[in-house]
Amino acid sequence: MMPSTGDEPGAIGRLGGRGRRVDERTDTQLLLASRTDPGAFTALYRRHAEALLRYFARRTLDPEAAAELTAETFAQAFASRATYRDEGVDGVGWLYGVARHQLGRFFRSGRVDADARRKLGMPERPVPPEDFDRIEELVDFEPIREALVEVLAELPDRQRDALQLRVLEGREYPEVARALSCTEVNARQRVSRGLRTLALALQERGLALATEAD
């Protein structure tokens, strides 16, 4: 998915909710302004956070990794916003450049960096259970179901069973937990780890996720 340039104010995300005034500056202007006014970065965040979360969810398949990558990307962008130059790449393009860098590191190491968050003193927060389902809904497994079945066989039993129930059969987490005789939290963890392993395996095999076309 090629993100929108965002140079049209309010192009991404639902802005202005809860009576908040819409910031009409472009992404580039916000990013440049954030050098002297860190608050301007918050406006940029509001505009692109959800889209970036979706971007990561569709590539990692893992809600937990997607949430962490979103947090780390914004932290990294905030920490290095002073290095941004308005020289052909607009603000959102630069932001997605940081995102691609983080994603590449994730696929290489299998884990999400936390350096930028640590540097800014931001805590590493767990994903709330209710967000888990919502982030999963951002992923469309249908186009990769065939590849999924193939790679699924290589996963450890516990992860495979969890993915089978949750992704292929589409059962809810309480039901998955009952079938696996574990708690709901454990079921989410198994699904999350399984999806992460799956994404890495697909990446290693050079199988471009169908969602890349988005």
């Binding site: 802005l15 860190p38 003193g121 709330p128 919502r134």
Partner: protein, 358 residues
């Protein structure tokens, strides 16, 4: 933020806190900023950085030590071989160098065809002021040496017999001998000191010279001291004998008799020591090791047979300095390579930055 995701809401708050912290930081005076910056490099991060640096240095030193050790092994092996080759190839009378491990390492000018002349003869001269005159009464030099000859395959038995014959021809004898698997053995020869150099020349003809060491120990001072003390004791003994002849009382006779016995014992002991020195001076000791070509030299390890704390400490010191030397040698190899790698990385980083900027 108007979103369904609680996680994103929380993240927004965290970013706002970070932004507020940054604003406060920028508003603070310079000194305060420095203090906070120093504090912000948290202890775990610092320790991780230091840990990485320490690990890198340790790896560097280990690699340097390995490289240095390997290079030393290679050099020693080659050095020993080349030295042995040089010694074997050098014609008699020409300057040559002794192989490593020999007690007399510099045999420059050593002319084996002229016994008593050259390095060894010069060493006989007290103070090194000039060549000693062979046969001078009071000059006492104990000579000994060790020679290792690599003989042709299946030639050990013949070489062993010829070695014995060389000892006999020189007017000496085989003090002891030992044979291992009929392919290598050691003989300890006692030959007249004046014939030692001639015997070495003949032994070298048995095969390829692998090792040679000759040494001379000047015992002249010890010999003169013993002789002087012996003279004094003999004078005492003569005096006691005279007094004993003139003694008239029983107690006086007994006292002088005891004194005579003591002095006589001391005289015999000193005489024994002088005899030993004379024997050592007259007959040189030469340890001859014969080894067939292709047979590995036995490892001499006296420490294994008679371990002691002193030798262990010596070996520990040697090991310590060997490792340090190996690391230093290895660093000599590594530092230019590391400098080159740094240059390459800097150039690569510059290119990457330029690409990223473009």
């Amino acid at each position: 933020m108007d979103t369904e995701f609680r996680f994103l809401e929380q993240l927004e708050k965290d970013l706002q806190v970070a932004a507020a912290r940054q604003r406060a930081f920028e508003a603070a005076p310079l000194s305060e900023r420095r203090r906070r910056r120093a504090r912000s490099s948290s202890a775990p991060h610092r320790s991780a950085t230091w840990g990485t640096i320490a690990a890198s240095i340790a790896i560097l030193l280990v690699v340097a030590g390995a490289i240095g050790g390997l290079s030393q092994v290679g050099r020693d092996g080659g050095g020993a071989l080349s030295a042995a080759f040089d010694a074997a190839e050098a014609p008699a009378g020409s300057p040559t160098s002794a192989p490593r491990g020999g007690r007399v390492k510099d045999l420059a000018g050593f002319d084996t065809s002229a016994p008593g002349i050259g390095y060894f003869a010069e060493s006989q001269s007290p103070g090194g002021s000039g060549p000693a005159v062979p046969g001078q009464d009071l000059t006492k030099i104990v000579r000994d040496g060790a020679i290792t000859i690599v003989v042709p395959v299946d030639g050990f038995g013949e070489s062993f017999d010829r070695t014995t014959a060389i000892a006999n021809d020189a007017g000496g004898f085989v003090l002891s001998s030992s044979i291992s698997q009929e392919r290598q053995g050691t003989l300890v020869l006692r030959v007249p000191a004046a014939e030692l150099d001639g015997a070495v020349v003949r032994l070298r003809e048995l095969g390829r010279l692998a090792e040679l060491s000759l040494s001379g120990r000047d015992v002249t001072a010890e010999y003169i001291d013993l002789r002087s003390r012996l003279g004094v004791l003999k004078t005492q003994r003569d005096l006691i004998l005279e007094l004993l002849n003139e003694a008239t009382t029983v107690s006086g006779t007994l006292g002088l008799s005891n004194r005579y016995t003591t002095v006589q014992t001391q005289i015999e002991r000193l005489q024994g020591s002088l005899n030993v020195i004379n024997d050592q001076v007259d007959l040189a000791t030469l340890t001859v090791t014969l080894r067939e070509d292709g047979v590995t030299a036995p490892i001499e390890n006296d420490d294994v047979r008679s371990p002691s704390l002193g030798s262990a400490w010596d070996r520990a010191q040697q090991g310590f300095f060997s490792v340090i030397a190996a690391v230093v040698v290895g660093l000599g190899y590594l530092i230019p390579l590391l400098a080159l790698a740094c240059v390459v990385l800097l150039v690569r980083g510059g290119i990457m930055r330029r690409r990223a900027a473009s």
